[in-house]
């Protein structure tokens, strides 16, 4: 350890020495989230990469209380933590958040998440979305984007990767009538931190989805993690927006859009779309998703209320 920074570690909420792959987007998300929460928080994580790389007995980088129970129940566990804090008279002081993967959120944990939102627990549920089950070796989740090749949605002579579009979980969360829903990206950490702070200031269930590239599962150089995340936003494939009771829809505008191929081309999971003949149609389909996002979330209109950090 470098002596000049060693003293800083005592205050850190997420210390080095965890076992994420080099360049892991999810760890960048965790750091930006804890920046917003401060130390008075209890974090619940389902099984997944973040859980695995932060909790191998007896080593852990967490500088805040952290609880992992199972893969499919983080929202329920967090509900119980919140209830216990109420009984301990700490409900106003200590916040409860979940930091969970897309598999644990969009798929196997969706029932528990829906229950948590419906019951109205004061929990901020944050999904770090790396768009597949990475912990088990890159299998498709319902958050895997259309066209991506994974170990269980492989491209082949007859297949072009995952055929279905990404599940729109923020919309499902909104349908529960909860007071705050946002999307964010690790490429814009200040925006992410601000959104988490915003959520924590509101009582009730909140849902935030953070686009968090994974160099291993997506197939790009570890140094490119932020660049990839940035491109995802700039293409319109990952719209950044927030919806709260006071502000119906706030979006990060895209003054100049990047064609999706410039994002897809850099990733091994989409390589098959460029290698084989006759795959242009699929690229068009993916471009259409971005175009539709621009319309649906009004990404193109001029409106610079949100800072463009």
């Amino acid at each position: 350890m470098d002596e000049s920074i060693i003293s800083k570690y005592d205050e850190m909420l997420f210390t080095p020495g965890h076992r994420a792959c080099p360049g892991c987007g999810a760890s960048i998300a965790v750091r930006a989230i804890l920046e917003a929460t401060g130390p008075d928080v209890i974090v619940v994580s389902p099984t997944g990469c973040v859980e695995t790389f932060t909790a191998q007995y007896p080593y852990s980088p967490w500088g805040v209380p952290w609880l992992h129970v199972l893969f499919e129940n983080a929202a329920a566990v967090a509900s119980g933590v919140e209830a216990a804090l109420k009984k301990r008279g700490l409900a106003d002081k200590v916040k409860v958040i979940v930091i969970g993967g897309d598999g644990g959120t969009h798929d196997i944990g969706l029932g528990a998440l829906s229950g948590m939102m419906e019951r109205g627990h004061n929990v901020t549920y944050i999904c770090y979305d790396n768009e597949a089950y990475m912990n088990t070796g890159v299998q498709r989740s319902s958050a895997t984007p259309m066209g991506a090749s994974t170990m269980t949605s492989p491209a082949g002579t007859l297949a072009w990767g995952k055929e279905q579009p990404k599940k729109n979980l923020p919309a499902i969360a909104l349908a529960h009538g909860i007071p705050y829903v946002a999307t964010a990206s690790i490429a814009f950490p200040k925006d992410l931190t601000r959104k988490v702070k915003q959520a924590l200031a509101i009582k009730g269930p909140k849902y935030i989805e953070v686009h968090s590239p994974c160099p291993i599962g997506w197939g790009f150089d570890a140094a490119q993690t932020i660049e990839i995340a940035r491109l995802a936003v700039q293409t319109g494939l990952v719209p950044l927006y927030e919806v709260s009771e006071d502000q119906p829809l706030q979006v990060r505008k895209l003054p100049k859009r990047v064609p999706v191929v410039e994002y897809l081309r850099l990733q091994r999971r989409f390589r098959h779309l460029f290698e084989a003949e006759g795959r242009q149609a699929y690229l068009n389909l993916i471009q259409a998703i971005a175009d539709e996002n621009v319309i649906r979330y009004k990404l193109g209109e001029q409106n610079s209320e949100i800072d463009q950090n």
Binding site: P39, G63, V69, S79, A83, R88
Partner: protein
């Protein structure tokens, strides 16, 4: 000694009264017959301000158990009840609670497991947690159900134990029966059961990390520590039962209870609500000169190996009533009884009897038949089958099975 109040009450209500008196901080549950009356009563108590608990209507039993995992890890007293499919749906969480040593108390309102779907009691559901690392206590009547729930928190939360405890109560037969039961004043219960003092819990002042992973380096040691905690609970269950007796005047046994075993040639072994019927049968048969006795297994985990050996003494035959079957082998309780007696000084014949599945009635005639079987086995010097199905209607089976 505490006086208490004797009144006629439904079993589920008595259990709810016991839970209320234990002041749980968080209750979370999901309805399933025959557990429903317990959690409905608790909901009403919260609604009326009689019970100051966070009551969370979960979206499933799996979530209910998970909610309690979160609550217990945050340092508060937690309770739930379920049955059958609901208990099975909690399975993953129950294993977790055992190894992370979170003392949640469960009521297992016993019910058969689908398929076929049915509402009647047997022990197949709760027995599936035999190897989860928790404590399981089986009760014989409503009074014992009430008393054992008060004891359960005390055992679970003991710092030498720190384990989930499941109080297993036969569905309908006990949950839906009305009978006289003595309940106690809150002040008396408070004197018996102190507030929960967690040994490990989450708080920002001293952050801890719960639920970490490990591999061949440490797994065996963590399992060993869980095992030792269940074993340590043997003394604790006995001690708490005696302490309860001193305060409230009720004793239903510690790990086991015995009835007329001293000079018995045939000893019946069973768990749960059938015990009352068996006590009656023993009295009648004794009146007829048959030397028969009864052992109630109250604590199934930890298993009362030594107590059982002693209680069996010199009896020639032991007849085990099983309400759960390890398919392809034999009755679950019988298996354990045989294992426990393997190195007993006088190893008796052990009959494994499948009786009471899916709520099939066990009455005095059934017991009579079983005792006759035991005596025939004694005469023959051996047991005909390792698992005998009592009252099996062979005439209804397809030809190949007959």
């Amino acid at each position: 000694m505490a006086h208490g109040k004797l009144s006629v009450m439904e079993g589920s209500m008595a259990i709810a009264q016991a839970i209320k008196a234990c002041r749980p901080d968080v209750v979370s549950a999901y309805p399933i017959t025959p557990q429903t009356h317990i959690i409905e009563s608790l909901a009403q108590m919260v609604a009326n301000g009689e019970l100051d608990a966070e009551y969370i209507r979960a979206d499933s039993e799996f979530s209910a158990a998970s909610i309690l995992a979160g609550a217990s890890a945050t340092g508060v007293r937690a309770y739930t009840a379920s049955s059958s499919q609901g208990l099975l749906l909690m399975t993953e969480v129950i294993y977790y609670l055992a190894r992370t040593r979170l003392p949640v108390v469960f009521t297992g309102a016993n019910r058969q497991v689908t398929a076929p779907i049915g509402l009647q009691p047997d022990h197949q559901d709760t027995m599936s947690f035999r190897d989860a690392g928790i404590i399981e206590l089986y009760v014989e009547d409503v009074q014992e159900a009430y008393d054992t729930h008060l004891q359960a928190f005390k055992i679970a939360e003991d710092h030498d134990v720190l384990l989930p405890v499941m109080v297993c109560v036969d569905g309908f037969v006990l949950t839906h029966v009305y009978e006289p039961v003595k309940t106690f004043e809150q002040a008396d219960v408070d004197a018996f059961l102190p507030p929960y003092d967690p040994a490990h819990y989450m708080t920002p002042e001293k952050p801890m990390v719960f639920g970490s992973g490990t591999d061949d380096l440490n797994t065996m040691e963590f399992h060993y520590m869980n095992h030792q905690a269940v074993l340590r609970a043997r003394d604790k269950i006995e001690a708490v039962a005696r302490e309860y007796e001193a305060m409230f005047g009720h004793y239903h046994g510690g790990l086991i209870d015995t009835y007329a075993t001293e000079d018995a040639e045939v000893i019946l072994v069973a768990m749960g609500s059938v015990i009352g019927t068996l006590r009656e049968a023993v009295d009648i048969l004794r009146g007829e000169g048959v030397k028969v006795g009864l052992i109630k297994v109250r604590s199934f985990r930890p298993f009362p190996t030594e107590a059982l050996k002693q209680a069996v003494g010199r009896a020639g035959a032991v007849a085990v009533f099983d309400r759960a079957l390890s398919f392809g082998f034999q009755g679950v309780l019988a298996t354990d009884v045989k294992t426990a007696l393997y190195d007993a000084p006088h190893r008796p014949l052990v009959l494994g009897l499948m009786a009471g599945f899916g709520g099939r009635e066990v009455n005095l005639d059934t017991v009579r038949e079983i005792v006759q079987r035991a005596r025939r086995a004694l005469d023959a010097g051996r047991v005909p089958h390792e698992a005998e199905f009592i009252g099996l209607k062979t005439e209804t089976l397809p030809q190949v099975f007959v």
